[in-house]
């Protein structure tokens, strides 16, 4: 199989639940050892690690907040110590914004959301990209959002954060290409995760997200595995000449 990730090690931020969990498991299924970061849910993180181990790969979980640089330092050095060189970084950790209009948004909320998505992404790139330059091939994947295309009202902090995160990606792709590092963006629409469920409850009053299957693209709400499969594609041999690209995984949009 040419698309194996055998011998590679990955770091997935926000890897305990939702999309990050599916990415961690998907990378492990393709042959990578996987370190995940989580901020709060230790039980969920341990469960993801178990799933990685069931696939015969090394799995590790590190608690910390990606917007805190010294916590990122501890997590990444522990990960490199436990797994060896990290050649895949998936910046997935994220938080939603609160649904206020621009004029009503608390400045602190903007700082907080940008802290996780943008500074968190930069922290991990700053710490892991230099050692990635020495590997045969490096991959940095940003999990962005369809929000960067729609830029809808009542989502300014999130829209701003994801847009800035994508700007890091497009820039980093050009800077690191001579080092064999690919940088790409996967931008999901609505996905069945805890965050997605909260979103449709808050914005559309939908209690059970699966009620939206019928009105969704291809008659189903997007699953975390759809996103994970795209991440694995980018990191694989099939994606080896692809960098600086963004792929929306949203069933074509609404």
């Amino acid at each position: 199989m040419t698309n194996t990730l055998d011998g590679r090690a990955a770091f997935v931020s926000g890897g305990s639940r939702g999309i990050g969990r599916a990415i961690a498991i998907g990378l492990a299924a393709a042959g990578a050892d996987v370190a995940i970061n989580y901020s709060r849910d230790t039980a969920a993180a341990e469960d993801t690690v178990k799933e990685i181990e069931k696939l015969g790969q090394i799995g590790k979980a590190y608690q910390g907040n990606v917007d805190n640089f010294s916590e990122c330092e501890s997590m990444t050095s522990a990960a490199v110590g436990d797994l060896g060189e990290i050649s895949i970084l998936v910046n997935n950790a994220g938080i939603a914004s609160r649904g206020s209009s621009v004029t009503d948004t608390d400045p602190n909320e903007i700082r907080k959301v940008i802290g996780v998505h943008v500074f968190g992404t930069h922290n991990l790139c700053h710490l892991l990209v230099p050692q990635m330059r020495g590997t045969d091939r490096g991959d940095v994947i940003m999990i962005s959002s369809g929000a960067t295309a729609s830029l809808s009202g009542r989502g300014a902090p999130y829209n701003m954060a994801k847009s800035a995160q994508e700007a890091i990606a497009f820039t980093l792709a050009k800077e690191e290409r001579p080092h064999g590092i690919r940088v790409n963006i996967v931008a999901p629409g609505l996905v069945e995760t805890d965050m997605g469920k909260r979103l449709v409850r808050a914005t559309r009053g939908v209690e059970d997200i699966r009620e939206l299957d019928e009105s969704s693209p291809f008659s189903r709400v997007c699953q975390p595995e759809d996103i994970a499969d795209t991440v694995t594609f980018f990191c694989s041999q099939d994606g080896s000449y692809v960098t600086g690209q963004r792929l929306y995984v949203n069933g074509g949009g609404f």
């Binding site: 199989m1 792709a173 050009k174 290409r177 064999g180 690919r182 693209p217 291809f218 997007c222 699953q223 759809d226 499969d229 795209t230 694995t232 594609f233 694989s236 041999q237 099939d238 994606g239 080896s240 000449y241 692809v242 960098t243 600086g244 690209q245 792929l247 929306y248 995984v249 949203n250 069933g251 074509g252 949009g253």
Partner: protein, 255 residues
């Protein structure tokens, strides 16, 4: 791999270059394939033999897809040959250099007509005939092989870029129209790929003296794009791994 077992593909311009790599990849992942070619029958026979060696059905059909009646005949004969077609790769194309006058001001109306016909009208003719029967399949996939020219719009080749832009517009519209029928429509946009067509182009542009291979060192990741890079993206888009992806364009150009 048997990801595409039971699926039946038509690859236009499948005898050489990028098309050939796409045919090989779809067949090695399990698909039966109609290989369309225009002039090079022996190249078509070669890749057909390779596909049969993989245990898959291969049919070669000559047609100049830029001629409406021939595109329609190709689509109908493909359905006859394999029973149905559920993967269409619109890959056949010609470069502006091959047509002769790559500058917009010098290109004749006939040059432009020919490029539009090869890329945009041909894609429409094939979709028009093939989509209705594709709606009956569990899943349908249409992949347009476009070009970074439709994003970069560099000097020379404006007529080619316009034809590719029109082809992309067709794809984005079709994606929305056919989603309800579980047909996925996506675009793969190659950069400079080591093929005969690109070789001709870079020689015209005076970027090389003997061969496109001279550009490898200055290319992304120290190599030219290979037809297999494009085939990899096509295979991904048609696979179960991409079942929630439609209406998208992947640029395969090393950034």
């Amino acid at each position: 791999m048997s990801e595409f077992n039971g699926r039946k593909a038509l690859v236009t311009g499948g005898s050489r270059g990028i098309g050939r790599a796409i045919v090989r990849r779809l067949a090695s992942d399990g698909a039966d394939v109609v290989i369309n070619y225009n002039s090079n029958e022996s190249a078509a026979n070669e890749i057909a033999a390779e596909v049969r060696g993989l245990g898959r059905h291969a049919v070669i059909i000559q047609a100049d897809v830029s001629v409406q009646k021939e595109a329609e005949r190709l689509a109908n004969e493909s359905i006859e040959a394999l029973g149905s077609i559920d993967i269409l790769v619109n890959n056949a194309g010609i470069g502006a250099t091959a047509v002769g006058r790559p500058h917009v001001a010098e290109a004749t109306p006939e040059d432009f007509e020919r490029l539009m016909a090869a890329h945009a009208f041909a894609s429409h003719d094939l979709c028009r005939v093939l989509v209705p029967q594709m709606r009956e399949a569990d899943r349908g996939d249409i992949v347009m092989i476009s070009s970074i020219a439709a994003q970069s719009f560099g000097p020379t080749g404006g007529t080619y870029a316009a034809a590719k832009a029109a082809m992309e517009a067709l794809a984005f519209s079709l994606a929305k129209e056919e989603r309800g029928n579980n047909i996925h429509v996506n675009i793969v946009a190659p950069g400079l790929i080591e093929t005969d067509m690109a070789d001709m182009m870079v020689k015209f542009q005076g970027r090389v003296t003997d061969s496109i291979a001279e550009l490898a060192d200055e290319s992304p990741f120290g190599r030219l794009g290979s037809p297999d890079d494009i085939a990899g993206a096509v295979a991904f888009l048609c696979s179960a791994r991409a079942s929630y992806i439609t209406n998208q364009r992947i640029t395969v150009a090393g950034g």
